[in-house]
């Protein structure tokens, strides 16, 4: 039997060039002493690119994203932000100063991720070069005293030392070990073999993929865009900058980069639970649309639902919201119809869809008219106050307050379509008046008439294009694969030395596994020794470890050489 000697006093320090994988070299706890200007810069750079800083920044990024999910965000839901402002009048301005309603665009958030990006790039790029170097390095020279390695074994063979080494080299080469032989002129008989370079390759893959993920995110940020569009049933929408309500382009995106699709909303259906604990909560949303991928192309029907976005022209269209758009007809003082439009109202209560809105009749002559109102989908009188008991529309009612005067629109200063500037207007009706579908209200002073003709529903769509999404996914998978490789594959070295002994030679085999976390190298080594012995065609007895150690074979070991 082969004796495998495993002393405990030998550590991996035989291979001083081995760094512990997973820890960057510059994560040394010893702080650099800053010297000149360059020294300060270097010190700062080292601090920034240390793994510790990267982890802290990553943690800060996660921490900073929390308000983004707890508070309503301008980018995704501006209506909720407005509601939050009305509900928390003292707190909201403070939160706004801190950018907490637009976290992902806040300067402090940008600072965190830019620093994190710099830190990761500064950490990963040098490591990538180093790993590429390590993956190419040949195994080191065989140490002189192989019996001091964690695994070693020794036996006698009938072959001369050179031949014994040749046989060992052929055997290890056949086992797909990378070999290193003595340099020309070196008379000693040894061979170094190393296996498990896939570990370095995995580590390299992990780091390269990590860079790939960063680049993909950058590509997404530079070339992608996010946009919102509110559209009423029966309306069409073309994906152009002017028809989008909100457009957040990437840094290198211009309006002509938008995918030239168009969408027509035919009908929107929302179903709600009518009984049980979740009464009033939505059970399904379905927006029936026709879309055409480019101008002039034939339109195709599609059912847009939550979690069932439309993929068109590499952009994705998501259904993100809905509401009611009451249809009004307004006649001005001259008796002319000057307004006929389905006007989107914004839900102030998502449970009952009680919605707020304004009607701006800029074309009314001689005086412009404005209305502030509430749309009540399912009206119920609660102590003289109109409330909605259910989100779907059952005999809906609008309650309006009329104003006459200057809407402030002709001065050219842009204003919100959801707000009425009443500073230059006078209120026509002391109390709000309620209208059911088909009812009209004649305004006092012969100012005209408003009719509530009915209602349509609107949906809000989010259009997103992120060219970095797929590359980021691929890179993330590759990074994981690389990480697994570097965890599962171990780098192990086997050395064989042979010194003349009598007619034959004494062959000593030493083995060392670097980071043998998963164990099992001892078994592999024992098997290798058995097979190598068979290859040497010997069944001579083992040499006890102690004996081998006392006759340590080596280049200058003349005693055993004699």
């Amino acid at each position: 039997m082969t004796d495998v000697h495993v002393p405990s006093d030998v550590s991996a320090e035989t291979f001083p060039e081995d760094a512990v994988p997973g820890l960057p070299r510059n994560a040394s706890p010893k702080p650099e002493v800053p010297q000149a200007n360059w020294g300060w810069f270097r010190w700062a750079w080292r601090q920034l690119t240390s793994m510790r800083t990267a982890l802290i920044l990553l943690f800060l990024l996660a921490l900073g994203a929390i308000p983004g999910s707890l508070l309503p965000q301008e980018g995704t839901d501006p209506a909720s932000v407005q509601n939050y402002f009305t509900a928390h009048q003292t707190l909201a301005p403070w939160l706004n100063h801190l950018g907490l309603f637009n976290v992902y665009a806040a300067p402090w958030f940008a600072a965190i991720y830019l620093l994190l990006f710099a830190s990761l790039v500064g950490c990963v790029v040098p490591r990538t070069f180093r790993l590429a170097g390590t993956a190419r390095t040949p195994p080191p020279r065989a140490p002189r005293n192989l019996s001091r390695l964690p695994n070693s074994s020794s036996y006698r063979v009938a072959l001369p030392p050179d031949q014994a080494i040749t046989v060992a080299a052929a055997f290890l080469g056949g086992k797909r070990f990378r070999l290193r032989k003595p340099a020309e002129g070196d008379k000693s008989s040894w061979i170094s073999a190393e296996k498990g370079y896939l570990r370095e390759a995995g580590n390299l893959l992990f780091h390269l993929s990590l860079l790939g993920v960063l680049c993909s995110i950058a590509v997404g940020g530079l070339f992608g865009y996010k946009a919102d569009k509110l559209m009423v049933e029966g309306q069409s929408f073309s994906d152009t900058v002017t028809s989008l309500d909100e457009f957040h382009p990437g840094r290198l995106v211009s309006g002509s980069d938008l995918a030239p699709f168009s969408i027509t909303l035919n009908k929107f259906t929302a179903n709600y639970y009518t009984s049980g604990d979740s009464r009033g909560e939505p059970s399904s949303f379905d927006a029936s649309i026709d879309y055409s991928p480019s101008p002039g192309a034939p339109a195709k029907p599609y059912d847009l639902r939550i979690n069932q976005p439309l993929s068109v022209d590499s952009a994705k269209v998501y259904l993100i919201g809905h509401g009611y758009a009451p249809v009004f007809t307004v006649t001005d003082a001259r008796g002319k119809v000057v307004y006929d439009e389905a006007t989107p109202f914004v839900p102030q209560n998502t449970g009952t869809l009680l919605s707020d809105g304004v009607v701006k009749v800029a074309g009314a002559s001689p005086t412009q008219l404005g209305f502030m109102g509430v749309f009540v989908p399912s009206p119920i009188d609660v102590g003289g106050v109109l409330q909605s008991y259910f989100p779907s529309a059952n005999d809906p009612v609008v309650s309006l307050i009329a104003y006459a005067g200057n809407l402030g629109m002709n001065s050219g200063i842009p204003q919100s379509v959801y707000q009425l500037d009443t500073t230059a207007m006078t209120q026509l009706t002391a109390k709000p008046f309620a209208l059911a579908i088909g009812q009209s209200e004649t305004l006092p002073g012969g100012q005209g008439k408003i009719t509530f003709d009915g209602y349509k529903q609107w949906v809000s769509l989010a259009v997103t294009y992120d060219p970095g999404q797929l590359p980021a996914l691929v890179c993330a998978i590759l990074a994981l694969a690389g990480l697994l490789l570097s965890f599962l594959v171990r780098r192990r070295r086997v050395f064989v030395r042979s010194v003349p002994s009598g007619d034959g030679a004494v062959v000593t085999i030493g083995g060392l596994a670097r980071t043998d976390a998963s164990g099992g190298f001892e078994d592999e080594f024992a098997e290798l020794v058995t097979e190598l012995r068979a290859a040497h065609g010997e069944s001579a007895p083992d040499i006890p470890p102690g004996e081998t150690a006392s006759r340590a074979p080596g280049e200058n070991d003349t005693e055993t050489g004699a």
């Binding site: 101008p295 002709n410 842009p414």
Partner: protein
């Protein structure tokens, strides 16, 4: 390790870091700054960066488009060939469009006898609201009814229509000779039309 080697390695690390920092800073600067000088063949009217004149040879051909006017009659852009066309994107809901309404009304009557035609594209609007707008400002030239912005989408392939209002001055060969991205003022649009029609 000999001290010289350490020094060498450190110097290498520092220069690598410096190169990385410069690349990063450069990339960020590039990413966060847009545009630069004016492209060849383009001049500003009155130094206004929102009013651009394109020299002949630098004018983009406007793709064909057609539709129905607010009054329901069919209209094709192709029939305007041979005339200077002032193409204005507007909506009755849009305050800047309301502020430039008098300008368009005045200039369209000033150039009514020359080889200049005015054409509106009414976006995201209803015919009733649009008619009240036109009557209010005394605008008599036709407008295409384009609630879904199909025309803007077609034209965006050659000129970025990034805001409502946008006004294009198109030469008799159907190429974009001038563009006002935003509110048109009387002096700027007048200068543009007279230069293109000259």
């Amino acid at each position: 390790m000999p001290p010289r080697l350490i020094k060498k390695k450190r110097r290498a690390a520092v220069s690598l870091a410096a190169v990385a920092a410069v690349l990063l800073a450069g990339g960020l600067t590039m990413a966060f700054s847009r545009g630069g000088g004016l492209p060849a063949g383009e001049t500003y009217v009155d130094g206004n960066p929102q009013a651009v004149l394109y020299a002949p040879g630098h004018r983009a051909q406007v793709p064909e488009f057609s539709g129905r006017t607010l009054t329901g009659s069919p209209l094709s852009f192709a029939t305007y060939r041979g005339r200077v066309v002032v193409l204005n994107f507007w909506g009755s809901w849009c305050p800047p469009c309301r502020s430039e309404g008098p300008t368009l009304a005045a200039l369209s009557s000033k150039y009514s006898h020359a080889k200049v035609s005015f054409l509106g594209v009414d976006v995201e609007d209803t015919p009733v609201n649009a008619e009240a707008f036109e009557q209010g400002f005394g605008i008599s030239y036709p407008s295409l009814n384009d609630p879904g912005q199909a025309v803007a989408q077609v034209i965006s392939s050659v000129v970025p229509i990034t805001a409502t209002p946008t006004t294009l001055v198109i030469d008799p060969t159907g190429r974009v000779a001038g563009a006002i991205f935003g509110t048109a003022t009387y002096s700027v649009l007048n200068e543009m039309i007279s230069k293109v029609a000259a």
